[in-house]
């Protein structure tokens, strides 16, 4: 069973990144007069999650994969609002961040050893990776957006009776803001 995590703090930062050469500039001027749909953004997500992952085997490591899925709606909405970018007429709109590059980081920031007499104990954070992308996602125009950020998976382990109680993360992403949802013009139409 996956160990649940609770966010004890979340921070974010988002700023336009320098666009790729030849990026399309054909986006509707109703969306933004100067920024294109291909606008790249640099998004940094940091924070701490609390959890309780306890060992229960003497002289054995047990492992677990924890999924950390920080909120991206707030920073993406902030970016749109602060740069005056209009949302397309989409019903039930949610925003996604379709990735070009990613550099996540996570570290164990809380460990308990509840029994002082048990000294053969330990903790580990072995590796991380992006949570699986949903390859079937499309944006409001029906264009595939196959690398929408879903979070990161972190492989942790404990030995003996150690308990991992907190993980810190710092996730740096470069990508594009995409609008997920159905265009209002097509809503209600019968096929």
């Amino acid at each position: 069973m996956a160990t649940p995590v609770t966010f004890t703090g979340q921070n974010w930062l988002i700023t336009p990144a320098v666009n790729l050469p030849g990026a399309a500039t054909t986006v509707s001027s109703a969306v933004h007069p100067t920024m294109s749909a291909d606008q790249l953004w640099l998004l940094v997500l940091t924070g701490v999650v609390s959890l309780s992952f306890a060992g229960n085997n003497q002289q054995q490591w047990i492992g677990e994969t924890v999924t950390i899925s920080p909120d991206v709606q707030n920073p993406l909405n902030f970016a749109l609002t602060s740069h005056g970018i209009n949302r397309p007429p989409v019903a039930g709109i949610t925003l996604g961040f379709n990735l070009e590059m990613w550099a996540p980081y996570a570290a164990i920031s809380g460990v308990d050893a509840p029994r002082a007499d048990i000294v053969d104990s330990g903790f580990a954070l072995n590796v991380w990776r992006p949570t699986h992308f949903d390859p079937n996602l499309v944006d409001s125009n029906g264009k595939p957006v196959p690398q929408v950020f879903q979070g990161i998976n972190v492989d942790i382990a404990v030995r003996n009776t150690s308990v991992i109680t907190a993980i810190s993360y710092n996730i740096v992403l470069v990508g594009r803001i995409v609008f997920l949802g159905k265009p209002t013009a097509t809503l209600g139409k019968k096929s």
Binding site: A17, V18, L20, P21, L40, L42, Q59, M101, W102, A103, P104, Y105, A106, A107, I108, A116, D117, V119, D120, S121, G122, F123, A124, L125, N126, V127, W128, R129, A157, R159, N160, S162, N170, V172, L173, V174
Partner: protein
């Protein structure tokens, strides 16, 4: 003693830190390079003393791959490369300032054979030092801050064993070309 670099995972991200020159002259182009990952080490404390000063410290050089992100940036942003005829390899020349971070990410105590099991344990990364080199680029210019890696002073107390150090380096600098 420096341990060789081994990783369970490496990630990178690179973006221009200033607008790309429209004139095609990219010699002063700044880049923001982020390198993250988990570095494998094998550091064993070997003391039974309860004195916290009696610990073992190792200088661990974390040397991530930088060729991949630099080559990606050159290709993606269409930056001219001196070419294979000059056998030029891209390197990263740092601006003043570097923001490295490294944390012990795996440790355990091995004390079954120790008569006194209450001797305590401890781990730390005590210091981080950016390792740079000086060289001459393919155009004959001297480059004085070539990023090589980061040296972390990792400390284990008593019978603690450290297995992993995770890192997060944020670097600002320019891409330069050296002879292979």
């Amino acid at each position: 003693m420096s341990a060789p670099s081994q990783f369970t995972g490496q990630n990178w991200l690179i973006v221009p830190a200033s607008p790309l020159s429209a004139s095609g002259d990219h010699s002063n182009q700044k880049w923001l390079l982020t390198l993250t990952g988990v570095h494998i080490i094998n550091l064993h404390g070997n003391s039974t003393r309860q004195d916290s000063s009696d610990s073992i410290t190792e200088r661990v050089e974390i040397l991530p791959d930088i060729q991949s992100p630099l080559t990606f940036a050159l290709n993606t942003y269409g930056i001219p490369h001196p070419g294979s005829s000059q056998r030029a390899v891209p390197f990263f020349n740092l601006d003043p300032g570097c923001a490295p971070l490294a944390i012990v990410n795996s440790a355990f105590s091995v004390v079954e054979a120790v008569p006194n099991p209450r001797i305590g344990a401890g781990i730390s990364v005590d210091s981080l030092e950016t390792v740079t080199e000086t060289a001459t680029d393919v155009f004959g210019n001297t480059v004085t801050s070539l990023f090589s890696g980061v040296a972390a002073a990792v400390r284990a107390r008593n019978f603690t064993q450290i297995n992993r150090v995770s890192y997060f380096f944020t670097l600002l600098g320019q891409i330069v070309f050296l002879k292979e």
